[in-house]
């Protein structure tokens, strides 16, 4: 009897996983960097190209590292959210300008507002590879010790900020 019921059982198991799969995004790749120190970098600042930033600048206060570019359409969608986040002053917002033209980037900020405390420039995308970036925009939450706590691929929404970012910020000490 069991012999003949086995196919049904196997099918049941498959069905269970297929159902689970419906609520997941197969394209989303979780980052292996979460829980690890932010990767090393040494990049010029967008506003003042002669000054450079490194991962040491991330230590001290929790930071949201936002990867963006002026050619990225989805970045426009999340810009309001970033501005609001900057105004909330719960977390420092740092921009990583990915493969962009400096003039276009500055123009975008002057038109749409500037949520970033500082912006580093990754002109050739090498730093973004170190961060495991595969689609712009992406956002990383780095805690006060310089450890990456969270990564989001795609435009941020305010709901995400409240549901994911703020609870994580509460857990991690050191306010800006």
């Amino acid at each position: 009897m069991l012999r003949y019921g086995l196919p049904l059982l196997v099918f049941g198991v498959i069905l269970y996983f297929l159902f689970g799969g419906l609520s997941r995004d197969p394209r989303l790749v979780p980052s292996p960097l979460v829980g690890k120190p932010a990767p090393a970098f040494d990049l010029p600042q967008l506003r003042t190209p002669e000054t450079r930033s490194s991962q040491a600048d991330l230590v001290g206060t929790p930071t949201l590292v936002n990867v963006w570019a002026s050619w990225c359409v989805a970045c426009r969608d999340e810009h309001e959210v970033l501005l609001r986040l900057a105004r909330a002053r719960r977390v420092r917002v740092l921009g990583l300008n990915y493969k962009d033209e400096r003039d276009n980037a500055l123009d975008w900020l002057s038109r749409l507002g500037d949520p970033y405390e500082s912006i580093i420039v990754d002109a050739d995308g090498r730093a973004a590879i170190d961060w495991g970036v595969y689609g712009v925009p992406e956002s990383f939450l780095v805690d006060a010790k310089g450890i990456i706590r969270y990564k989001h691929v795609g435009p941020l929404t305010w709901a995400l900020v409240e549901d994911e970012l703020f609870p994580l910020l509460k857990k991690s000490p050191g306010r800006p």
């Binding site: 009897m1 003949y4 019921g5 196919p7 049904l8 099918f11 049941g12 498959i14 069905l15 996983f17 297929l18 159902f19 689970g20 799969g21 419906l22 609520s23 997941r24 197969p26 394209r27 989303l28 790749v29 979780p30």
Partner: protein
């Protein structure tokens, strides 16, 4: 007006499908002839209404009626008219309509060519098929209606996906669907037998030709799809182990197993429960494929636009259809008893081994396809299971299949003396090994073992096939006797087996000796692949009906002699602004030369993908041989005779209950 007629036709077809699903089944259970008799007209009616719906959608495409959302999303006034027709099944909604229409084509065929069956059996078969169509029509009408209007109508449509603007698309999906949906016949036969409780050899005999026909369509669909991907996707690969490809390969593997186990059930009255399970599995995997392609649970190059609501709907269909039939199987199968006796060393034993290999291959493909999903669901991280895995796991199994396939057809039913078998096979293994070794040694290069293994299996299949034919003919005198000995069933089987040999040869040669290079070439420069020189001679702009393109002129030469002038294109379609690679190919039975354009480089040039692909055509030739073999087998005299005899004995409508 026309779209509304189409919509109405869908609803009417649904009504008929409901009738067909319920009345004949109830009639068959209670023995009410009048109820059972509704099955056939209901099936014919559904076919008619779905034809109407299909024509309405096609007419909307031809008239560029962009108030129909589906037309607006998949057509354009600049789209050439043959592609407008093909666009009917170019995306999710329309392809479902095609699916449903094809299901009714099979229903009509069952209704038409079911003379030998009892009325009750035919009623149950059609009721099950009607039930399937109820599910799919509901799915279409509730979540994926191709006739939905939107106002105001846009002035211009968003055009058909450029990838699909190709003659390959015109024929590939219909063939594939004929196969997928065709397995619903074997499925319905199995279910009808389980419901009725008569799982006898007659059920298998009726199932066989239907299964072979569905299988040959699926084979044709897969072959065409592989060929299409080869020349259209621009990578020059013939198989990518993409989830959607796997979705078609799994039912093919199980369908192939089914054909063989049906032979045992039919001739030897053995494997009945197993055959029944295979019939359920083959169609279940077709349905699973539908789910995988349309629900968005896996990423794929060919996936349709997805929507979670649709995913849930198909999952429910899947749960009811597959779960229900497997439950029925679990309840009824223990009662099935085989009468055929055989020893492990027998043709039955060889066919059992064939089934094991094919089913393990199918299960492995399923495992690899779903494994990332399972790990993700268990929060164990995301992994990718790609070509390296499937090649490692499935290719050895297919090689093993070839080995069994060699001896299976020349073994005796019931009991095979191994010594007798060895005597008949004679020097074939050694001959095959020497042949493979000599060819590979002469050709040189790496991968010695794999190459020898591949060619050995192929040669082995050919030699044993020859032996099979010889044994058939040796006692026959004269042409008529020979022709009688070589029944279409036998010739078809042999041809299909030789097709596998051709396919294995092609895969072996292409993957082990093919050369694939990505090279940046300036104008006038050349690069070598497989002793052929590819020289970039020029670049020019080309204007198509709905695209712009850059065309390269690549002269291919060997030993300073021009072999071919290839003109690949890099196209940008105006509406969907997607860059498309149109490869240029110089085909040949023994080798293909392939050029596809990459990106422009500095200093007036282009990066090109140049390829030398030995034996790649053998893969599709093998597929076509299998198709032809299937056609011969399905048209074997025994089926035609059975049909004619049944028709003579039982006039229409007086079939015994």
């Amino acid at each position: 007006m026309i779209p509304e007629i189409g919509h109405l036709a869908l609803i009417l077809a649904l009504g008929l499908a409901l009738v067909q699903c319920i009345l004949p089944l109830a009639g068959a259970q209670r023995g009410i002839v009048g109820w059972m008799a509704t099955a056939r007209p209901a099936a014919y009616g559904q076919f008619l209404f779905l034809c109407v719906a299909f024509v309405c959608l096609a007419a909307s495409f031809l008239a560029s009626d962009f108030s129909v959302l589906y037309v607006a999303n998949n057509s354009n006034t600049a789209l050439p008219w043959p592609y407008r027709i093909a666009a009917v099944w170019g995306a999710h909604e329309g392809s479902l309509l095609l699916w449903s229409l094809i299901l009714t084509v099979w229903m009509v065929a069952v209704g038409r060519f079911s003379a030998g069956m009892t009325l009750a059996f035919r009623s149950r078969v059609l009721a099950v098929m009607g039930g399937i169509n109820v599910a799919f029509l509901l799915f279409m009408i509730l979540t994926s209606n191709p006739f939905v209007r939107h106002f105001p109508a846009p002035a211009e449509g968003r055009d058909l996906n450029p990838l699909l603007q190709d003659p390959g698309l015109v024929v590939h999906p219909p063939m594939l669907y004929m196969g997928y949906v065709g397995f619903s016949v074997a499925f319905s036969f199995a279910l009808a037998a389980l419901i009725g409780g008569h799982l006898d050899a007659a059920w298998a005999r009726w199932s066989r030709p239907w299964t072979v026909v569905a299988w040959l369509f699926l084979t044709l669909g897969i072959t065409l799809g592989s060929w299409w991907a080869y020349y259209e996707l621009g990578w020059g690969g013939f198989w990518f182990w993409d989830p959607v490809e796997n979705a078609s390969f799994m039912p093919w593997l199980v369908g192939t197993a089914l054909i063989h186990s049906l032979a045992v059930t039919d001739k030897r009255d053995a494997f009945k429960a197993w055959t029944c399970l295979l019939a359920i599995c083959a169609f279940s995997l077709s349905l699973l494929g539908t789910f995988l392609v349309r629900s968005g649970v896996l990423t794929s190059v060919h996936a349709f636009a997805t929507d979670p609501k649709r995913g849930v709907f198909i999952l429910v269909i899947l749960a009811i259809t597959v779960g229900g039939s497997l439950l029925l199987y679990a309840i009824r199968a223990p009662r099935i008893h085989d009468t055929g006796q055989f020893e492990p060393a027998s043709r039955e034993g060889a066919l059992l081994l064939n089934n094991i290999v094919l089913m393990v291959a199918a299960a492995s493909v399923l495992l690899g396809t779903l494994y990332p999903l399972v790990l993700d669901a268990l929060d164990l991280g995301k992994i990718s299971v790609g070509p390296p895995y499937f090649n490692t796991v499935v290719l050895p199994l297919l090689g093993g299949l070839g080995l069994v396939l060699g001896i299976g057809p020349i073994m005796h039913w019931k009991r095979q003396e191994m010594r007798d078998l060895a005597r008949r096979i004679g020097w074939a293994p050694l001959l095959a090994l020497v042949f493979a070794g000599v060819v590979v040694g002469w050709r040189g290069g790496e991968h010695f073992l794999q190459a020898v293994a591949g060619l050995f299996v192929a040669t082995w299949v050919v030699l044993t096939a020859i032996q099979g034919v010889r044994e058939r003919l040796v006692h026959q005198h004269g042409f008529a006797g020979m022709a009688r000995a070589l029944s279409r069933g036998f010739v078809g089987m042999t041809l299909a087996h030789l097709g596998l040999a051709a396919g294995i040869t092609g895969v072996t040669l292409t993957s082990l000796y093919g050369v694939e290079r990505d090279v940046p070439l300036k104008r006038g420069e050349s690069a070598e692949a497989g002793s052929y020189q590819f020289r970039l001679d020029g670049l020019r702009d080309v204007l198509g009906p709905n695209y712009q393109a850059i065309e390269a002129k690549v002269t291919v030469s060997r030993d300073d002699e021009t072999v071919a002038v290839l003109k690949p294109q890099k196209r940008v379609y105006r509406v969907q602004t997607e860059a498309m690679t149109e490869a240029a190919i110089d085909p040949g039975l023994f080798r293909d030369l392939f050029v596809a354009m990459g990106e422009p480089i500095r200093d007036d040039g282009f990066s090109l993908r140049i390829q030398y692909k030995p034996g790649v055509r053998l893969i599709w030739l093998g597929g076509l041989m299998m198709v032809l073999g299937g056609m011969l087998a399905a048209s074997d005299r025994r089926y035609r005779v059975a049909l004619r005899r049944a028709r003579d004995v039982l006039p229409e409508g007086v079939a015994a209950v």
